[in-house]
Symmetry: C2
Subunit: 281 residues, 2 copies
């Protein structure tokens, strides 16, 4: 018999895909975890009913959340990833030879364990000797580590459940303080079609602390609306400065990121510019 998984993207809209094998389907202290084998997307990680990453399209999200800040910073050595339990962001960060240590802080140990067993494409990076995985709340971890990181990447789930606090003013203040001089924060900030309020508030809060706040876009087919936003906040470097783009290299085996794509991702259409300009109202 056919088995299907359905993601309720909104009350009135859903995406369904056939499931050839249910590899994980359990409840942890923090959330529900599913890992499914699917004909459409390959293996797929689902948390609390929302698709997080799929073998078919994970490269788009992971390349763009990692290489844009890594190539904007002149010499990123110490990198913190908050969330990102599947390991895909860490894998991309490790492609930069300047990196000395990557710390991943994931609240849910069982997500990492499930991904290490069933999603090797992303999670194999977590076995790298320069990677330290901490199972802790990202908020508390930041509070204990001021001034230490060149790059902080917030690779969170939706702003409901365990990740809700990762989009608030206090969190962004802590992230600012956790950065070394010249440090850069990047956060995934959901869909410009469906999450306008979150984009507006994230921008407003980040602008209180950072002199440079810029949004960029990338397509992610398995996410609602298919177009995703990332917000980069920098203590110094502009992500689209000519010297940044000239120096940017295309890391090994990239299927979406290139220095030209980096430049193009910051070109925002009028409807997105309008969302961002609301922060000043």
């Amino acid at each position: 018999m056919e088995v299907w998984f359905t993601e309720k993207q909104t009350e009135n809209l859903s995406l369904s895909c056939q499931v050839s094998e249910v590899l994980v389907n359990k409840v942890t202290s923090f959330q529900e975890i599913g890992i499914f084998e699917t004909p459409s997307f390959g293996r797929m990680l689902v948390l609390d009913g929302y698709i997080q990453t799929t073998e078919m399209d994970e490269y788009l999200y992971h390349e763009m959340i990692a290489h844009v800040p890594m190539n904007t910073h002149p010499d990123p050595r110490y990198v913190l990833v908050i969330g990102g339990g599947d390991g895909g962001t860490v894998r991309e960060v490790l492609k930069h030879p300047s990196v000395e240590k990557v710390t991943m802080v994931e609240i849910d140990r069982e997500v990492v364990e499930a991904c290490r067993e069933y999603l090797p494409v992303t999670s194999q990076a977590l076995g790298n000797p320069n990677v330290k995985v901490e199972f802790e709340d990202g908020f508390q971890f930041l509070n204990r580590h001021p001034g230490q990181f060149d790059i902080v990447i917030v690779d969170s789930t939706e702003p409901v459940g365990p990740a809700a606090e990762l989009f608030g003013r206090e969190f962004y203040e802590l992230a600012y303080k956790a950065l070394a001089p010249g440090g850069i924060l990047v956060a995934q900030t959901e869909s410009p079609f469906y999450n306008r309020d979150l984009i507006v508030s994230s921008h407003k809060y980040l602008k209180e602390f950072f002199p440079v706040v810029e949004m960029y876009l990338a397509p992610v087919p398995s996410y609602p609306g298919g177009l995703w936003s990332f917000t980069l906040a920098s203590r110094q470097n502009q992500p689209t400065a000519e010297e940044v783009l000239q120096k940017a290299k295309q890391p090994d085996k990239c299927k979406y990121y290139s220095p030209e794509v980096h430049r193009g991702a910051f070109i925002l259409p009028p409807f997105v510019q309008e969302i961002i300009s609301q922060k000043e109202e």
Copy 2:
């Protein structure tokens, strides 16, 4: 009771949205037509089970299929739209003051009649005195009108059913011949995630006739994968030439298109460049 429409995007993947009212649901000589009122997308036109256009996101597709070629041509006066029965492409073309006449050739009169009744946001443009609507096969129409158009826009359905021939070598040859010197053809060429073979063959055929063939991308949430490709073939002008971009204007009330977005849409990520380079194998 809740009523839902489901689009089977592939055998193993489907998108479903709640339907608050079925406005049209009929079979014509060419295809099945549905127009539904939905909470997610507003009114939605569906042909043979595939979503064609929705009030929520039609601007993305229509602005990008129209303004990129219109702004690439130095003085577009005579414009032909093949397909496009909802009228959205014609609406965008009419925003350019150089236009003297727009001819829309749609094979299915009942699509236009249904859209004129239930989708005024796109179809009201069809009442403009400079617009001529012809109900005919696009292939045959091109054959009878050599050398007449500055711009030909192929705003077709999927490459199955009535539109299958609109992606073939013979069709592109006729389209080339229907263009005046300096003329430009644009075709929607489906998803770079799901329709690689079609993109490869379209490029190969167009390259036989046109000196300039370039692909560009735009997000369309209601289409499979959420990222759409368009292929522009030009008898003369390069769509990303500096003089084209300097002269390009942002037409009235654009929510997605701008001259900067025009430039950025031609920046192709490595995985798309790889698809296109297959034409030379």
